[in-house]
Symmetry: C2
Subunit: 213 residues, 2 copies
Amino acid sequence: MNTKERILEAALVLFNDRGERNVTTNHIASHLGISPGNLYYHFRNKSEIVFEIYQEYERLVDQTLQVPKDHELTIEDKAHYLEAIFEGMWVFRFLHRDLAYFLESDERLRDRYAEFSRRCLENVGAIYQGLRKADLIAITDEEITALAINSWLVATSWATYLRTAVYDSNLEDQITRDRLRKGIYQVFALERPYLKEHIKDEVERVQLSFLEQ
Amino acid sequence: MNTKERILEAALVLFNDRGERNVTTNHIASHLGISPGNLYYHFRNKSEIVFEIYQEYERLVDQTLQVPKDHELTIEDKAHYLEAIFEGMWVFRFLHRDLAYFLESDERLRDRYAEFSRRCLENVGAIYQGLRKADLIAITDEEITALAINSWLVATSWATYLRTAVYDSNLEDQITRDRLRKGIYQVFALERPYLKEHIKDEVERVQLSFLEQ
């Protein structure tokens, strides 16, 4: 791993642990035992580091939300999408903690995120079309558009929900991996009414497994 | 209107227009043509003002989310709930712009908001039970619990969605009343699969009216 990659890795750990606002480039350099000058050689400022990490997150989501070309979609695919998306939220959780703030303070990030969101909504729509084609859900095109937006809203607001609506004063950090993964149950709940009868029981078992973790 | 009420009213206008972080107690006093000392007589600091306005918002939502005692729930009631909730989000939009930040910086607000959220989810659940009792939706208790949470997630994240995912660089302010009200369409979409056949067409007309505004 080269120095640039080590800086990104250390920054991600520190941002997740302490919140991005509480971490300076000096903290990151000192954590790695390198000089601030060495860090600045790779990144002009902290925003550059955030932007680079953000792009990693984007690539992960883009790669995940693809309809397979070699087989019809299955319920296992659907569960896999959600697990991968929520795992990405866990790995890059500092971004979701403060997303509106990041976008407000960095125009480049803001434009890129809007573009990314549009792409994701299209990809999620294509996945629902694939589930319909595989005879797993019965749904109209209008319903797919609204459902894709609602899935996006539920998934992206789940971390905030944990930190606000179901704040638990016994927890040091509100966003644990287990609490986060319970959001998968909620996305399944959105789709459930559209399921074809023959698949309902199987999906319910998969859905419930995320609640019980 | 007494001075205290005038301070709250002016603060709400300024917070909505400029964002709470960009407004000081001196701005508020100067906007009203009163001395900072006079303002401090009523509110020790800006957090006290935010807390008082937050409580107004809470009262509005609590009063709205009640099942009527004199008649069975109708689709008009349901539309009315959503219109009132989204109108409240519009009137108190500065709160939704920065909610996670407010809760993080004020422990009292954070505990109160978690309590408020629990109450809202119960009230929303009671409304769905009322719609089921009125023979308008077919839904299980487990589905009601998940649907209430998803309605909450969609409604409370809609303002953030406007500012991030569908950011429009042509707009000076991303949260306009019209854009905000389109969120009502999304909440209707959540409930639509549960509607009884005899009411589907009527609800669809109501739902679409919010998209076309």
